[in-house]
Amino acid sequence: MSKLWLLIPEFMKTGLFAVGGGLATIPFLNEMGVKYGWFTTDTLSTMIAVSESTPGPIGINMATYVGYTVAGPAGAVLATLSIVAPSIVVICIIANYFQKFKNARIVQMIFAGLKPAVVAFIGAACLNLFISTLLYTKKGISGGIAEFFNWKCIILLVVLLALKQKFPKVHPIAFIVAAAAAGVVFSF
């Protein structure tokens, strides 16, 4: 079987068994590289770095990149479609049942517990982003407390929060574009 067609079962498998979001697909991608010799662990690290620094969900970016590396543009499209196909099927089935049962007492009770937990998961993801953006954790605090903070980023955060308070209607995209420009202009 050619590489291109092998992408379909491999990525469907990843889409079906990687539970918990984009980063959960990494072990599957790693195994693909080892099993078929499509790419090395080093190449995979580069692909992960690029996927984190380009727009789009990380899991999709990685699938697209691996597909492209293995079999060009057709591979990129095929890998991406294959990784989402299982979840489209699963979610459509669940969505159908959820609609029927969401008003049941037991389901309401379950989701009353899930809501605060989801806020916590988002909070945890956010806290990790804060730490990696606002602090220099790699150096530790050996260089003094002042050098532990990424002052440029902290100042930008304060400015953006103030702007958001003043202009709540401005689209999130405008803030992202403005912050990217600020990052380039002031070499963050």
Binding site: T54, P55, P57, Y68, V84, I91, P116, V118, F121
Partner: protein, 181 residues
């Protein structure tokens, strides 16, 4: 037909301006899905996130499929999903073929640092919104605190934490400590 196209375009836009995982998409979802198109409420998005967390696949994709399915059935789910993955295919395709050292470029690193700050700001806003709507009593706060501490300081998979939270929801509701609508 019009709604299908709207689903594709709206999720394309959200995919194009999301940096990071599915959660980073929340500010964009609040603006587009909740405020602009009224395809779902904040509460429903939380439900989709919770389900997406313990079902296979990428959370952003699962959320897109959910929203699309409730608008236009299976075709709606497919269109929303294709919308959210299209920018990735285009952008990664270009980068993979043209600039393999993309992540190491100075200008990219600077821009990304700025973007991360914007995402931090947007997430603070998004979480403040959610907090007001989801943490209304002590029991909800306890579930929140337990889930936060466990996900920050232990390696327990989120799938198990979701199941645990669901069980707590039932127990606390039955005890009368937590209000379910």
């Amino acid at each position: 037909m019009k709604v299908l196209l709207q689903l594709y375009m709206a999720w394309f836009k959200m995919g194009l301006f999301t940096f990071g995982g599915g959660y980073a998409m929340l500010p964009m979802i609040q603006r587009e899905v909740i405020e602009k198109y009224h395809w779902a409420t904040e509460d429903e998005i939380m439900d989709y996130y919770a389900i997406g967390q313990c079902t296979p696949g990428i959370i952003a994709v699962n959320t897109a499929t959910f929203v699309g399915y409730y608008q236009k059935g299976i075709l709606g789910g497919i269109m929303a999903t294709l919308g959210v993955v299209s920018p990735s295919i285009i952008i990664i395709g270009l980068i993979a073929s043209l600039i393999s050292n993309f992540a190491e470029l100075e200008v990219v690193r600077h821009a990304l640092m700025g973007i991360n700050v914007a995402v931090c700001m947007l997430m603070i806003q998004a979480i403040a919104n959610l907090w007001k709507k989801s943490i209304k009593n002590i029991a909800a706060f306890c579930v929140f605190a337990a889930a936060l501490l466990l996900s920050l300081f232990t390696g327990i998979s989120t799938v198990w934490l979701v199941i645990l939270a669901g069980v707590l929801g039932v127990l606390l509701s039955k005890a009368g400590w937590m209000k379910h609508e």
